[in-house]
Amino acid sequence: MRPSTDLLGSGVDGPVNVDLNGLGLSSPVVVASGVLPMDGEVWSSMEGVGLICTKGITLEPRAGNRGERLVETPSGLLNSIGLENPGIDRFLEAILPDLLRSRRSLGLNVAFSSLGELEELIGRIGDRAASVEVLELNLSCPNVDREGAVWGESPERTFEAVRLARSLWPRSVWAKLTPQAPDVAAVARAAEEAGAHCLVVANTWLGAEVDLEAGAPVFKRVVAGLSGPAVLPLTLRLLFQLYPKVSVPLVACGGICSPQDALKAMMAGASAVQVGTQLFRDLGCCGEILEGIRSFLDSRGLSVSRLVGCAHRASR
């Protein structure tokens, strides 16, 4: 039994095609935003990836946060980079051409503090980025028009941002949710209604760390984003929670490190997975994850579409 319209090829490096709401990728493994250098040569040599997301880009250049930016926690990583990036203009001019030479499908991760800024940002891109497949909206940043409330905490603000992006961006729009949303299902539905092609579930979990010697928070902004293996059970729970509530594809993000992790996320409802922190441990992990998914499917004669969400269909 090998009925697989969406499982093509079975060589060791064969593709495992996925269809993400109209966007076809040759692998369900996506590189998360903010973990790879924006360097075309590095991107070219990444194996097993269907899409690579850029570092979060903002309208203006940003120097990021001062002070400590990284702390290791038990099986996790807290980061407070603060969106250090060269701004959209320099990105388009000096970086994007190099990235495109890698011939990798590209997700442009963007952060914005107002609708006006988002509009301007997409406007600047214009048609200079026609080969950028995905615009990924980082909804974990604060909205200055609403006293700094985080976009993704509110269904209404999420709806507005996604709708605006959809009206201006001709290709896929992904909404990267924040797990801090009071009602993440409501936000997910709002993003779907506004036309998001995929929901990324989810950005980092807010954590904090204390410097014992100083008797003070380690991070200048007190809180920082928790990623890595520690959060995988939380990611799986979000997937279980959201999969029955929306019909757009979900992209798992948070703690995916191994083929097993990826398969669990897909069984819980993800059509694709993003890999972040694990790349800090093993730049070859995406290839291994793809290979692991492929051989799991192969050995069971399963298609990706049968895999995705199967844990919801399992009788318990």
């Binding site: 790879l36 250098p37 360097d39 990583l77 250090e84 890595g228």
Partner: protein
Amino acid sequence: MSCGSHRLPRRIPGTVTRVELFPPQVGMIWVRPQETMGPWGPGQFAMVFPSASNDPLLGRPLGLAGQVDGQLLFLCRGVGRGTRMLLSSPPGSPVHLVAPLGSPLAPLEESKLILLGGGVGVAALLPLADRADRLLWAVRDGTWAGLMDRCSEALGLDRDRLVPVFEDGPPGEGCNGVEALWRLPMDLKGATVVACGPSGMLRAVWELGRERGFRSLLGLERRMACGFGGCMGCAIDLKGGVRARVCKDGPFFWGEDLDHEAFD
């Protein structure tokens, strides 16, 4: 799994073959990589993962100090959990490496090349030792002598060019690394000093270079998550507001490119 290109440092399984421990909590760690690592040069480092587990999660950056009979040498000081785990590894313990990382030091063809290592900071300078006029190895006290001897022996360092500097040496002799630079019986003008060690020492070398007219090439340390320029965790300001990543664009930087904030 390979990353298909030599541009990307791979995660390589390895085995700790031996740890030679010296007081005070410093050691020579010998690691046999189970796959061949790409070519590397002086000034580069490895992310060393003390275990295959998820905790500790990240690699610990350690300078590549040498390679003997297919084994890599690291000098490591036990300051926290990861380094202590490494120092207490029994022979045969598994580790992983992501290496080589950082930019290798360009061939330094200067007539006068002085190396100054503070404590285990000397590690990344050792591969340059045979090209230098002097290697000053500055340490706190005589407890380090055993490590210095063993290290010189293992790497076949030229003892004539190696100058051990003991901070607590006999009166009139004891001095720190920067004082030892001062005292060198040579004109430093036009020399290049490559230094790696505590940030106070680096700052002093940097200042001295401006006074005495030598170029300095300084090895910085920052907390690192990736080591390959991805996470922006180690970003610093160079002169003129240019941003650089210590892991990728360094860890060695020319003194003239650095602001004094680099040593905070």
